[in-house]
């Protein structure tokens, strides 16, 4: 069967998804909805309004890559049209929107998957498998971190507006929260400190340190940084009563280019790369998992409930940052 895909949003993630859709034989991008004509046309046929997209492109899958506050609106439109829905993380900007999406998806039964792509990153998937196999015994203390420079690449610089993006906590370390929930089960308490809500650093810096208590009794700590000018880096550590797993992206890049031609230009810095074989790209794997589930008539693997739970932890962390209090999750 062949799928007709409508891409909503031609920004960074829209571009990443379009690349993956183009490698999936049984799917075609039949329309790209975005006010930016040039950016849209680079990814597929351009549409500037939903009605034309719906009536002319006749999509059966909608892939939502617009800024977070617009997720709910497009999920509602797509569900009303009975389409299968893939939505980028985070699920939505508020719990009210998250719960409305959960209710809608559950009620209509439309196929739905959220883009918690970390589950398809081989270092995180391998760790999850090892933990499930008992490689660290019973997990007791887990630490992850995700560190980058401040993102200014969004449309209208929307990441820089915490009211829209929720800052590093809702936009970036929600990846960690989803992986942690998937691997270690539900979280019962959240306490966090961060720069969210601090008017002095809006649009320039964000940094958050989040402490989690899992229902299992294990402890978690997540670092989120948009304050690292030195490039993207992630670390991961799972310690249990039977062992320890450590990962640091800075120590596992198999290829580093230190080129004389970069001197003076791109700063002459060494650029590390960690490529994966064709067909093992995490963004390909998540789209492939979505399509396979549609083929099989099953619900795709990252459910609306999973996405809601990850958003719940992230929004609890933002609440803790703002109030200075512990947030209990039942």
């Amino acid at each position: 069967m062949s799928y007709r895909v409508a891409l909503i949003g031609a920004g960074t993630m829209g571009g990443v998804h379009a690349t993956q859709w183009s490698t999936i034989r049984e799917a075609d991008v039949v329309g790209v909805l975005d006010p930016r004509g040039e950016a849209s046309r680079a990814l597929g046929p351009h549409y500037s309004d939903w009605e034309s997209l719906l009536s002319q492109a006749k999509p059966d899958i909608v892939d939502i890559c617009v800024p977070t506050p617009f997720h709910r609106e497009y999920v509602e439109r797509a569900a009303a049209a009975g389409m299968a829905i893939f939505v980028e993380k985070p699920l939505a900007r508020t719990m009210a929107d998250c719960d409305a999406i959960v209710e809608l998806v559950t009620r209509t039964g439309v196929p739905f998957m959220a883009g918690h792509v970390l589950r398809y990153f081989p270092e995180y998937l391998s760790t999850k498998r090892l933990v499930d196999d008992g490689a660290v015994g019973t997990p007791a203390a887990v630490r992850t971190s995700r560190m980058a420079g401040f993102p200014h690449q969004g449309i209208d610089d929307w990441y820089a507006d915490p009211v829209k993006s929720g800052g590093v906590v809702l936009d970036m370390i929600i990846h960690d929260f989803d992986w942690l929930l998937w691997t270690f089960g539900p979280v019962s308490r959240v306490f966090a400190c961060g720069l969210y809500g601090n008017a002095k650093y809006v649009g320039e810096l964000d940094y958050a340190l989040v402490t989690l208590r899992f229902a299992s009794g294990a402890l978690g700590h997540v670092t989120g940084s948009w304050a690292h000018p030195g490039g993207f880096r992630t670390t991961l550590e799972v310690a249990g009563d039977g062992g320890l797993i450590e990962h640091d992206s800075a120590r596992t890049a198999p290829l580093t280019a230190s080129l004389r031609s970069n001197e003076g230009g791109a700063g002459g810095v060494a650029v590390p790369e960690s490529p994966m074989a064709m067909g093992e790209d995490p963004y390909f794997l998540e789209i492939q998992a979505f399509v396979k589930a549609l083929d099989a008539g099953e619900q795709p693997p990252v459910t609306v409930h999973d996405a809601r739970n990850a958003a719940r932890v992230a929004l609890a962390a933002l609440e803790s940052i703002e109030t200075g209090k512990v947030v209990s999750l039942s």
């Binding site: 203390a141 208590r213 670092t223 304050a227 000018p229 320890l244 209090k325």
Partner: protein, 337 residues
């Protein structure tokens, strides 16, 4: 640092239940600026073996060592005995005392020790050896010079392999991983920032050893409204880890980030003979700087980097607040005693 010129001071050490005690004793034995007068440990043969190793006199009791006319004393006993030995040393009329960390098992004991020394004009110093890490000193210098702008946050870890012996007997140690580890990084943060801790939140656990003492501690520490920090004090390294643990700090400021891994100066050694991988450390011995500064204070000089009893109390405040917070499942204000 100013140096006073006198004859070599006489230094004694008591007692030796501590792995750090041996590091101190070895450094002291080799230091040209002091005379290692002797050791005492009324428990079993511990004093004799250290005396033999360092070729110094072993006194049969702590009292006899203290009454032998010492200029300075290093207290490396179980934490529960710190108060007793520090007070006895102060009463014996030594000029200065270096006390292992943590200062005491309770804030009340810690306060009493600081007061007893102050009353008699005895200098009480804390063994916070991380202050003598050249990498840490460089970090502090960079922070102080404004290299990372205004400091906003510090993420710290002080992981370790679970210790044995009296360390995991709270009747002697006063607690588990939180007390053992919090004081070091709490002192470093305060020393780097020049700010006092105001609020602590802590989640603690025992998921590694399943005993009645905590082996896991995740602290959040605020330094006023402007700076927050977290600290992982967990004994979370497995027993076959290549080294004893770590001290790391990520200092985030308006102008950038400093990442410190204090013990990264090591080799990787893959031993066929021992079927083991280890990371032998070749970085500077932090105890050398600590002992050298202490001897200078004994001789009447000043050593600005040497932590005082008050510094030890401030670090203890944070650890005690962590226990209160964990009990209440809520952030708590730091009580200053």
């Amino acid at each position: 640092m100013t140096t006073a010129t006198t004859t070599k001071p006489l230094i004694g050490m008591l007692t030796f239940p501590h792995i750090h005690a041996l590091s101190c004793a070895e450094v002291l034995a080799q230091d040209q600026n002091a005379t290692f007068a002797g050791v005492a440990d009324s428990f079993g043969g511990r004093g004799y073996s250290v005396a033999h190793l360092c070729r110094v006199r072993s006194f049969p009791t702590e009292r006899e060592l203290l009454e032998s006319g010492l200029d300075g004393v290093i207290v490396t006993s179980e934490t529960i005995h710190h108060r007793k030995f520090v007070q006895a040393a102060a009463e014996a009329g030594v000029k200065a005392i270096l006390c292992e960390s943590p200062l005491a098992t309770t804030l009340e004991d810690g306060r009493a020790m600081v007061d007893a020394c102050e009353k008699r004009g005895v200098r009480l110093a804390m063994a916070f050896p991380c202050r003598y890490s050249p990498a840490l000193l460089r970090l502090r210098e960079q922070v102080r010079s404004g290299a990372v702008g205004e400091v906003l946050a510090i993420r710290g870890t002080n992981h370790g392999v679970v210790p044995g012996g009296w360390f995991i007997d709270p009747s002697l140690s006063g607690g588990g991983a939180v007390l053992d580890r919090t004081v070091h990084v709490a002192d470093l943060n305060r020393w780097i920032l020049g700010k006092e801790a105001t609020e602590v939140y802590a989640e603690i656990g025992n998921g590694f050893n399943h005993k009645d003492w905590e082996d896991t501690g995740f602290l959040t520490i605020r330094y006023g409204a402007g700076v927050f920090a977290t600290l992982d004090t967990s004994w979370s390294r497995p027993k076959n880890y290549p080294t004893w643990g770590d001290v790391t700090l990520q200092v985030v400021g308006t102008g950038g980030v400093l990442d410190l891994d204090m013990y990264s100066q090591g080799l990787a050694h893959y031993s066929v003979r021992d079927s083991r991988i280890s990371w032998p450390h070749w970085g500077s011995n932090v105890y050398a700087g600590l002992i050298s500064d202490f001897l200078n204070v004994v001789a009447g000089g000043t050593s600005p980097n040497l932590a005082t009893g008050e510094d030890g109390l401030r670090a203890l405040d944070v650890a005690m607040a962590a226990y209160r917070s964990a009990g209440l499942q809520s952030p708590v204000s730091v009580n200053r005693v």
